[in-house]
Symmetry: C2
Subunit: 325 residues, 2 copies
């Protein structure tokens, strides 16, 4: 006998994630009730993953559950917000209990890690597609945005972008790598990205602007610069590249993937010259894992320089409706 929508919600999603005392009414009614956090602003984002577009058909269900929440947590991280509550809209071709079990386990584990309560949702029948809407909060007036950067400021990125793009290629057998340890590391960077929520919270005291790197570092740097009314210059030699990525594709292609790969969910942020020393002192770069990669400039556009010369990158980030992917 097939699982009904009500049994499905009851079994896999009621009580999913953290139990929070500020949720008087969660999953199961027409809507959820949440206590408004006093003296804070709400922060809201929504993101969809479609099978065959954002993840390969047949991806591990735990990864789909993890990523659906992770991409939303990454949006909150980029605002410097504290995550709180999520709603899930899950469209499935059929109610496959094993898949649902794994999916909800992946989702619940990440939700618990970040203190998120799943407070509502909707399950429907159709092509596999997962939308999560996340809510969080931030102390009034302290949210990071894309638009606060200015020419002359330093640009930083967390982690080692490009890893996830190589991990996806490994998942799709478009790339081979003999070293099993490095291959596992890269695949996990695609399958189980780690949202930089703690870093985003701390950056509120130092950064002038922030964006999460989801569509490719170069394209997202261009978005931050454009929103701030300036341009940006990235230094090719300063791009942080993981040893695993360099081993997989060589150091040159590694930097290409770091610039354009997508799916990184790292933070890209600008810091005024007056705050860079404080940042380095209070959040040591080797502990918090970020790297200075460039500078905001007056001239618009995003360029990459190598030994002082501009190099050409025609693929400016991943765009769902004008893309090769």
């Amino acid at each position: 006998m097939p699982l009904s929508e009500f049994e499905l919600i009851d079994r896999f999603f009621r009580g999913c994630g953290t139990q929070r005392s500020d949720v008087p009414l969660g999953v199961g009614d027409d809507a959820a009730l949440i206590e408004c956090p006093p003296d804070r602003q709400l922060v809201a984002a929504i993101d969809t993953l479609v099978e065959g577009v954002h993840f390969p058909a047949g991806s591990p269900a735990a990864s789909v559950g993890h990523r659906a929440l992770a991409v939303n947590l990454s949006d909150l991280a980029a605002m410097g917000a504290e995550p709180g509550w999520a709603l899930l809209a899950l469209t499935l071709p059929r109610a496959d209990e094993r898949w649902l079990e794994e999916f909800s386990r992946g989702l619940a584990a990440l939700a618990r890690e970040f203190g998120v309560a799943l407070v509502g949702g909707d399950t429907t029948c159709g092509p596999l597609c997962v939308t999560i809407q996340i809510l969080g909060s931030v102390e009034r007036g302290t949210a990071l945005t894309r638009s606060g950067a200015a020419a002359g400021e330093a640009l930083y990125v967390s982690g080692t972008p490009g890893d996830a793009a190589a991990g996806l290629q490994l998942e799709q057998s478009r790339l081979e790598l003999a070293d099993a340890h490095s291959a596992r590391y890269l695949r996990d960077r695609f399958l189980f990205p780690a949202p930089r929520v703690a870093l985003g919270r701390r950056l509120r005291a130092y950064a002038s602007a922030c964006i999460d790197v989801s569509d490719g570092l170069l394209g997202d740097a261009g978005k931050l610069a454009r929103a701030s009314g300036c341009g940006v210059e990235l230094d090719y030699e300063m791009l942080p590249v993981s040893l695993a990525l360099a081993a997989a594709v060589g150091p040159e292609r590694a930097r290409g993937l770091a610039l354009t790969g997508g799916d990184d969910y790292e933070l890209l942020f600008s810091v005024p010259p007056s705050r860079t020393d404080d940042l380095a002192r209070d959040l040591p770069a080797d502990e918090w894992r970020y790297t200075r990669i460039g500078t905001l400039r007056g001239e618009s556009g995003a360029v990459v320089t190598r030994n002082g010369s501009v190099i050409d990158f025609s693929h400016y980030g991943f765009d769902h409706f004008a893309s090769v992917r």
Copy 2:
């Protein structure tokens, strides 16, 4: 040249709906910022419409935009909440400008009618699927839920359920109706449902429980009764049926559709005997368009009686994963 995701959002969704002063940051950053309304609770719901499941392929885009928001507004109506903000996750096979224009017009018109600001969203490429997440608020402790009803209370429904189901059949050419005026009326009840937000707000002072009728009146009455730990008896002869529906399918089939049709987005609510006179006085039934259709009872389950005898209905509401539809 195809429209990019960023141009698409800019052109069709920036500033969509009502401009609200409590939205310091709307569409265009990693997340939106919303001022928390003081002394109120947040109310959050999410609902998805999938082409070919919730609306026929080739439905008017304005109707898809309207319905995607209406089904969410109906969830807030059932809680007695005041709508405020919405996020849109739109998955499209391609960026068809005419379709988007019409879709956003249908969405924006309803958003303005209910004072809703579209504060964020995500557009992705894939099979047509629309998820809206809505946020609203309610005075603390006054929200209506499904679980407050008790045996002996009266059960009411707003409007004339069954119309939308007949309208869908007309849209799909599974039903014919010579009278063009009635046919238009029924189609519009499916294509452009009117969320009962004002009624829901007023019912907080009278109703003990409330649910919106989306999956069929009988099934949803069963859900309200079950959540309240009781059962329900509906009186077949009291079911309100529109003249258009009776003309389209005859009075007997009309009551069958009213009980099991789905897509009505009316409110079903219980009122304690001590409050029914006040309800009738303060919210006249002919003005607010609601009808008493049954009674909550101690024995569990949902039954329909006709002249004192129980009649059998085996199809208890629409369930996405165990359904004939």
